[in-house]
């Protein structure tokens, strides 16, 4: 029997995410009611931060895949581009949605158009949306692959800007809770749940990218087989 790595990764990641959410709701300590307007909503952080982390991994895969297609014409590069754009869109939407839920409870508004972190991350998610919808609406060809890969390549510039945004311009989005200097702090129990969430989301998104790359390969094989049946090869 063939071992399906993608499915194993997906099942493991999903199980880890369910465990993370159970621990987030039942076990992780509450935050101070003085520091937050809505302390209960803070627990969405155990979904929001890992999904944003997974989105950055997916955007990195998109960048590498785009570069491999543009510079090496690598078929693996194109599959990574497709897998990275789909995973970026899914993780980006999860991070944006969970952020909006928290923002509505904590700030009284789901979005702040003046916050740099929110807007650069929103732009990254829109870029992923453009790449996914664009690829589905265009016939597969060298020119369309070049166009989408160029967007994937140059769009990556928003990733480091998004990462440093709360370190330079802290407007509405909270500052970093890990690796942000003396101001960043997290209790060990909270850190443990967050770590489990980050590992689980990483495994899940790796599984999705393996599956997505496989689907792209299947679609290409099917199209070529169809051409052979039609007598075009």
């Amino acid at each position: 029997m063939r071992v399906r790595h993608g499915e194993v990764l997906l099942a493991t990641g999903f199980l880890g995410i369910m465990t993370t959410l159970f621990l987030a709701l039942k076990w992780a300590p509450s935050v101070s009611i003085d520091a937050f307007a809505s302390p209960a909503a803070q627990r969405i952080f155990y979904w929001h931060v890992p999904s944003a982390w997974a989105a950055f991994i997916a955007f990195s895969v998109l960048f590498v895949g785009s570069a491999l297609w543009v510079f090496k014409r690598s078929p693996t590069g194109w599959r990574l581009h497709v897998a990275g754009s789909e995973a970026s869109l899914a993780c980006g939407l999860m991070a944006v949605w969970s952020g909006c839920v928290w923002g509505a409870a904590e700030w009284g508004t789901p979005w702040d158009w003046s916050d740099v972190r929110l807007n650069t991350f929103g732009l990254l998610t829109l870029l992923a949306l453009f790449l996914v919808l664009g690829r589905q609406s265009q016939p597969d060809g060298i020119e369309s692959r070049d166009t989408f890969s160029t967007f994937g390549l140059y769009g990556f510039v928003l990733v480091p800007i998004t990462y440093i945004a709360t370190r330079i311009w802290q407007i509405r989005h909270p500052g970093p809770v890990i690796g942000g200097g003396e101001d960043s702090s997290l209790s060990s129990d909270m850190g443990l749940v967050l770590l489990l969430g980050a590992i689980s989301f990483t495994i899940l998104i790796a599984g999705h990218m393996v599956m997505s790359a496989r689907i792209t390969e299947y679609e290409q094989r099917l199209e070529r087989l169809q051409n052979k049946v039609d007598g075009r090869i």
């Binding site: 993608g6 499915e7 997906l10 999903f14 995410i17 369910m18 959410l21 709701l25 809505s38 302390p39 209960a40 909503a41 627990r43 969405i44 979904w47 014409r73 690598s74 078929p75 194109w78 899914a90 999860m94 949605w97 969970s98 839920v101 409870a105 597969d140 060809g141 060298i142 692959r145 899940l204 999705h208 599956m211 997505s212 496989r214 689907i215 390969e217 299947y218 679609e219 290409q220 094989r221 099917l222 070529r224 087989l225 169809q226 052979k228 049946v229």
Partner: protein, 61 residues
């Protein structure tokens, strides 16, 4: 308690969305695989070359 109820609903909605996406990807992969196997069997082919565009692009460089 109202905050926790709101949060639980938000979490369940996101898990449901993630579950649907994951299920769609797995079934799509399995459907494509079975269609390819059926076509390859009927044509007497095995492991057909997949990405002709990459070959074409490399050939044109």
């Amino acid at each position: 308690m109202e905050g926790m109820t709101y949060l639980t609903i938000a979490y369940l909605g996101m898990i449901l969305g993630l579950g649907i996406w994951t299920w769609t990807v797995v079934t799509r992969s399995r459907n494509l695989q079975s269609r390819i196997e059926a076509l390859e069997d009927s044509l007497g082919l095995k492991d057909f070359e997949s990405d002709i565009l990459a070959k074409e692009a490399n050939g044109n460089e």
